[in-house]
């Protein structure tokens, strides 16, 4: 059901881990649904310089986490906010229909991490 690209990405995911001194952290999903994705980012001058993920989920969830984190590194936060699940799926050369929600989760996790970054920025500015 998975194509070779998804299986290879699942077998060798990039950016697994957790950035301790992150500038933004986002976590979406829950264990009851069987999917949790956690993404941490490092940002310098509004550019994402590093991103890592930890995922509880299926092979598609791991693969989309890997692709999404890989894509946003080097992007400005504005560009990263425009990352769509469709682009992640396209990069993976397609996902089975019942797995599309995994790619949505990756998009949401990136957005949550950036929101957290922005929140922290505005808190800093407010001080």
């Amino acid at each position: 059901m998975y194509n070779e690209k998804v299986m290879q990405t699942f077998a060798n995911p990039k950016h697994v881990g957790y950035i301790e001194d992150n500038d933004g952290a986002g976590k979406v999903g829950n264990a009851t649904c069987g999917d949790i994705m956690e993404i941490t980012i490092k940002v310098k001058d509004d550019v994402i310089t590093d991103a890592k993920f930890r995922t509880f989920g299926c092979a598609a969830a791991v693969a989309t986490s890997s692709v999404a984190t890989d894509m946003v590194i080097g992007m400005t936060v504005d560009e990263a906010l425009k990352l769509t699940n469709a682009r992640v799926v396209e990069y993976l050369e397609g996902l089975p229909p019942q797995k599309i929600h995994c790619s949505v989760l990756a998009e949401e996790a990136i957005k949550a991490a950036i929101e957290d970054y922005r929140k922290r920025q505005s808190e800093k500015a407010g001080k």
Binding site: R54, T55, F56
Partner: protein, 397 residues
């Protein structure tokens, strides 16, 4: 050489070479229609009747009580819908369990839409129902009791002899889905008080697409398929001669070798379970602990902090085939209803894997699988946010 280890023998088994050899002539040499009157047909019919006798002998039935079908699902549908509709004037209540195969559960749900009432008995933490539970659920409207002989996910062997005795005492029909049990554990339809029984050849090293409904003589149900007059005018459709010959050969071999296969498969399973429990922390062994009440082939584990499908696919990459009760594998959002029914928390049900051993598996394969599995579980846990949190402060978010 690339490894190919098959630990999904509850899903299906390979067709035994001995079985295949017996089937082959019936594709191209003895190809007559078993219903034809000429000698081509008679040759086929002789083979079909031999298979019928073998099946009957294997389960303690009479040949006239054996009806060939397309498999377990058809047999379940026929038995349950057939009994329900035949007995509608007597009542509309059916008793079954919460952990039946979908072929039974969905059939019962379809009957509910037709005005039947169904009691889905809850099971205990190992998947057992008791005869007492069944007896308590009986009302004056009860017309059918259907309880599986053995569960496909967690291997629980239900006390069908006692349940059959309760059904008999109350003069209620008793059907059992014995798809996972036939050929693996002894069954005697007389001693076990079974009125109807479903089986499927591909679960005991026979071909796919052929099964049996055993129906005790005197039990009146309607025909399931309309058409020709095959199977004593009870099941229309040209008889699948090669498949039926294969089923007959497979069940004969399964009964002949049952003790030997049981011992071998149970030894592999027991070693696997013991080693896994000793070497991996935070796992749950699902299903009965008492091996005498569990299918010898079955082991089912939940692995905390990680998701079942990712374990399955990681094993797949290593050339090891298993199945998972995770929602992700089935395409639905709900994990296995069997595991939820035995009280496995939903997070853990997502992280469950069934290993089902077969007569051709070896101890070397089991050891190889264990080594790969240890590494896979460690790798996926390192990747899981739940694992870090557990090591830190909380177990689940």
């Amino acid at each position: 050489m690339e490894r190919r280890i098959y630990l999904d023998n509850s899903a299906t088994t390979y067709t035994d070479k001995e079985v295949l050899q017996k089937m082959l002539p019936y594709f191209s040499e003895v190809y007559g229609n078993g219903s034809s009157q000429h000698f081509f047909g008679r040759e086929a019919l002789v083979a079909i009747d031999e298979a019928r006798e073998k099946v009957a002998k294997a389960i303690g039935a009479k040949p006239t009580e054996i009806y060939f079908t397309s498999g377990g699902t058809e047999s379940d549908n026929w038995a349950i819908k057939g009994a329900a509709h035949a007995l509608r004037e007597k009542g509309n209540h059916i008793i079954t369990t919460a952990i039946e195969h979908p072929a039974v559960i969905k059939t019962c749900q379809a009957l509910e839409k037709d005005g039947f009432e169904v009691t889905y008995l809850p099971v205990d933490s190992e998947g057992f129902v008791t005869a007492e539970q069944v007896e308590k659920a009986i009302t004056d409207k009860t017309i059918l009791i259907s309880v599986m002989t053995a569960n496909n996910e967690i291997g629980t062997i239900e006390p069908i002899r006692e349940i059959g005795a309760v059904a008999k005492a109350h003069k209620i029909l008793f059907h059992t889905d014995a798809v996972q049990a036939v050929g693996n554990v002894p069954i005697d339809v007389v001693k076990d008080n079974i009125d109807m029984l479903s089986m499927s050849a591909h679960k005991f090293y026979g071909p796919k697409g052929v099964g049996v409904l055993y129906k005790r003589n005197g039990v009146k149900i309607g025909r399931f398929m309309d058409g020709g007059e095959q199977e004593r005018n009870m099941r229309a459709s040209t008889l699948n001669t090669p498949g039926i010959v294969g089923l007959g050969a497979a069940i004969e071999i399964a009964v002949r070798d049952m003790e030997k296969n049981y011992k071998h498969v149970a030894e592999l399973r027991d070693y696997f379970v013991k080693e896994l429990l000793a070497n991996v922390k935070d796992i749950k062994y699902n299903g009965p602990v008492d091996t005498s009440r569990r299918l010898p082939s079955n082991a089912n584990f939940s692995f905390e902090y990680i998701e079942g499908e990712s374990i399955l696919m990681s094993l797949d990459l290593e050339g090891i085939a298993v199945s998972s009760g995770s929602a992700c594998s089935s395409g639905s959002l709900e994990p296995s209803y069997v595991l939820l029914s035995v009280g496995v928390p939903i997070e853990l049900a997502h992280g469950s894997i069934r290993f089902s051993f077969g007569k051709n598996n070896t101890m070397e394969e089991v050891k190889y699988t264990l080594e790969k599995l240890y590494a896979i579980v460690a790798r996926l846990r390192e990747m899981s946010p739940l694992f870090k949190e557990f090591k830190g402060e909380q177990k689940y978010v």
